[in-house]
Symmetry: C2
Subunit: 210 residues, 2 copies
DNA sequence: GTTTAAATTAAACGTTTGTTTAACTTTGCT
DNA sequence: AGCAAAGTTAAACAAACGTTTAATTTAAAC
């Protein structure tokens, strides 16, 4: 568990935003240094290289994701469907709370070349699947969930929907109700809209009830 | 309606693949020229610039997508659910048939900076929504589909799921049954798996039946 | 066969890229 | 105070970038 100085965190934060907005190769270390208000050489000095900087961002966020998964494993008192609903909400909160990083993930998972970053992504996705799989399977065996459900695809739908929503937000802004006036309200509006949609979807296909 | 020479098409094809695999900024015009077996200068000569080359790819694919949409509008004899199912299958076929381009779209839609390419993407997405919306609405008014469905979100789920499946294929390869031996069979396997999943999902939430 | 335009080439253009250097400043420790 | 390590800087580095140039070849028209 490494800790980062204020300056290092400033670089990481700026780099994450720029990588998300313009892509890794679309962002120069000079852009990052300027916006983070540090000398260009500091990036190599701290992180070794631009590639390593990206990897650092990934390891930093991934560590948090691991913690996140372990926290989810503790809720054992809930009913299966409530567990799923809680899981959906937590996923939405997590992913919309780190939108910049999710954008980078969206981009990097498309790279055809193998890389440490790409491996990390699919490793994490596997862990996420391993989180949902037993919940569904147990409920299926208890006769609460129906059996003709492709859990892997369901997880794909969960990720895919949220990953589509992130860049679609500037479109959703137009169809938002008039009660949404500031950014916080809009974030909440998006959250509940995605949440409501996904919960309905999961409930319908898992329990055949409404 | 422009037509392209063999050499121009070779450039477009190579560029599309490389942009998909490595990103726009991750691909140099020298890479493209080398793989397409043409002189570097030909790219500027034919398309003006690297940016214009990307835009050309987009306009080329978008034109096909428009035709695709218009074809879908003609099927009026089917039942609402059959219409939806047909639409799902056609979307899957279309998008998995032009995976390279879909990868580029996935990437480009994340760009925060406004650009002609980004505008084209959301324009097209709007048209896709306009295709599904009336089908659902009419069926809702006829009492065939339930009303508490967020069609915009459902479309997001459709796109999102397929866009997630594309980079996930090398993972799906591992969980494929032993009957899948070559690439064609695998493509078919992926198609039917996504299709089955999405149809179940749509049927469940739209009709409350199974 | 001559002429004109289009196609194609290798080379060079000026920038920008990520990274490193070497000098300098600050910090913390004894 | 004195010293060593860490932090910070402007400048320079070679390599790669997208694009253009000018010369040459090919093709088409008359």
């Amino acid at each position: 568990m490494e800790e980062y100085s204020e300056k290092q965190l400033a670089i990481l934060k700026v780099a994450e935003r720029l990588f998300a907005d313009q892509g890794f190769h679309g962002t120069s270390v000079r852009d990052i240094a300027q916006e983070a208000d540090v000398n260009i050489a500091m990036i190599s000095y701290y992180f070794g290289s631009k590639d390593k900087l990206l990897e650092t961002i990934f390891r930093y966020r991934m560590e948090a994701s691991r913690k996140f998964i372990n926290e989810l494993l503790e809720n054992n008192t809930l009913e299966p469907l409530e567990k799923i609903n809680s899981l959906i909400d937590r996923f939405i909160n997590k992913m919309l709370g780190e939108q910049y990083f999710q954008c980078i993930m969206s981009r990097e998972q498309l790279n055809s070349q193998a890389s440490p970053v790409r491996d990390l992504i699919w490793e994490l996705k596997g862990e996420m699947l391993g989180l949902m799989q037993p919940i569904v399977t147990q409920a299926q065996e208890a006769g609460i969930f129906y059996k003709d459900v492709d859990v892997e695809m369901l997880m794909t739908t969960l990720f895919g929907t949220i990953h589509q929503v992130i860049p679609a937000q500037h479109i959703l802004k137009k169809s938002a109700p008039a009660t949404v006036t500031n950014d916080d309200e809009f974030r909440e509006y998006v959250k509940t809209r995605v949440s409501t949609h996904l919960k309905k979807l999961f409930k319908a296909i898992l329990t055949h009830e409404f």
